[in-house]
Amino acid sequence: MIRVVLPAHLKMHANVNGEVTLVIDGPVTPSSVLDALEQAYPMLRGAIRDHETKRRRAFLRFFACQQDFSHTPADGPLPDAVATGAQPFLIVGALAGG
């Protein structure tokens, strides 16, 4: 079971409270996490990554286990702690704005 923490705006958009839990078969990567997230919550399509290119939106970051995975390859493995659900995968909005 994978745990994902969404930013507040997307929790509201997906109508969820707290963490989201997902089941992923196969490698646990940023791409597979987001695939599973968008499968479970279709309204999040386009909100985290571009519809077509699947590129991460510019003002979002991916953190896990106190590391920044924003710029690691989308198909690169995430830590075992994320794959086992011991640690959440954090989707975070960049700290700017009004």
């Binding site: 507040a8 705006h9 509201m12 958009h13 309204m43 909100a47 960049a94 704005g97």
Partner: protein, 371 residues
């Protein structure tokens, strides 16, 4: 008696104001989608319970929300706006080519006849259509591809398609306006388009009488006379009596002919409203006096409407989509400000009151007149 529902989009959420036909007391519901920029909400004329909303965020992109129960509940529908073909480039602020990229939906215009058909005017400027209630979107690429698209450039607010007018007498005719590009018309349901900017004069572009490049802020039309159009331009209030083929200025005695909003009285097609703003760098009313100006003669002669509006120390703006009218017997006029007030007049503008204040900056106001 009927009732009225006012749909207010703000920088940080949407609000729905409701009143009976007297329009004296109002309920305020919201914020819906708190924290999101709500560029526009618009109810379907064919089904008043169907409301579309444009929900936008620099962080999380564009969403389209739909309500089937008059705004009580909402569902996210499709938000995939893909330009057809290879998008290419348009002019950037500095005159260099800039890739076309979708940013947000500025305006939603539901069909008068089919609640599942709705048009979306977007930034970077293009027109999209959905025929399935917002579940999928397709670009009407004839507009962007008609020939001048690569010369369009953004205004200060971005390169947005902000006005969509559907001709109630001709299903195949519609009008759009694009900031810093101008007005355009189709007579074949969006397949082909042509600029309709003859008569516009803009000193701030290389050729003041160019076919495209004029900064049109808003178009307005009365349903009973769709060949007559009114325009609030960057500078100048304009009128066309031939479906946009030619325009002439009707700014007359306005204190300044700069502004954003313009609308037409629901029952008097020669009565129009504007909110003059001091200049293109000072986006507030002259002398700090918030005044709606009304012409009952289709332009040229204007009167200031002040009763109930702040006449000192008022430095708000009224944005292009933030004015609307209802269809009650005594026409109601509504506008929202960047100071978060929504003002209403139940007597065609003679008297005004703030029906809600202290909202986030208001981006858009639409009105539904309900049976």
């Amino acid at each position: 008696m009927g009732s009225v529902r006012v749909l207010v989009g703000t920088r940080k959420g949407a609000f729905i104001l409701r009143s009976d036909g007297n329009r004296r007391s109002w309920s305020v519901d919201g914020p819906f989608f708190a924290g999101w920029e709500m560029y526009h909400l618009h109810g379907s004329p064919a089904d008043p319970d169907r409301i579309y909303a444009s929900q936008s965020s620099s962080w999380f992109g564009q969403q389209i929300q739909r309500s089937n129960d008059g705004g009580k509940t909402w569902e996210a529908v499709d938000n995939s706006f893909a330009y057809k073909g290879v998008p290419g480039t348009h002019q950037w602020y500095d005159g260099t080519p800039h890739p076309w990229e979708f940013k947000r939906v500025w305006h939603l215009e539901p069909s008068a006849k089919d609640p599942d058909t709705v048009y979306a005017g977007v930034e970077d400027a293009a027109l999209f259509q959905s025929r399935d209630g917002g579940r999928s979107w397709e670009e009407l690429e004839g507009l962007r591809g008609h020939g001048s698209g690569d010369h369009w450039m953004p205004g200060a607010g971005g390169m947005c398609l902000h006005t969509i007018l559907l001709d109630p007498s001709d299903d195949k005719r519609m009008f759009v306006a694009i900031s810093a590009a101008g007005a355009f018309r189709t007579d074949d349901a969006g397949k082909t388009w042509r600029p309709i900017n003859k008569g516009l004069h803009s000193e701030y572009i290389p050729d003041p009488k160019a076919e495209v490049g004029h900064c049109v802020h808003r178009l307005a039309m009365h349903a009973s006379r769709p060949n007559v159009l009114f325009m609030q331009k960057h500078w100048d209030v304009m009128r066309s009596d031939d479906s946009g083929d030619t325009w002439h200025e009707v700014s007359g005695n306005l204190p300044t002919d700069f502004g954003f909003a313009i609308d037409v009285h629901a029952h008097e097609p020669e009565t129009i409203y504007v909110v003059p703003i001091k200049s293109d760098s000072e986006h507030f009313p002259p002398d700090g006096q918030l005044r709606v100006w009304r012409s009952r003669s289709g332009g040229h002669e204007w009167e200031a409407l002040t009763n109930g509006l702040p006449q000192s120390n008022c430095y708000v703006n009224v944005l292009r989509d933030a004015m609307a009218v209802d269809k009650m017997d005594s026409c109601g006029v509504y506008f929202g400000t960047t100071g978060g007030q929504v003002y209403a007049s139940a007597d065609s503008g003679d008297t005004w009151s703030a029906i809600v204040r202290d909202l986030p900056p208001v981006l858009s106001v639409e009105v539904q007149t309900l049976p």
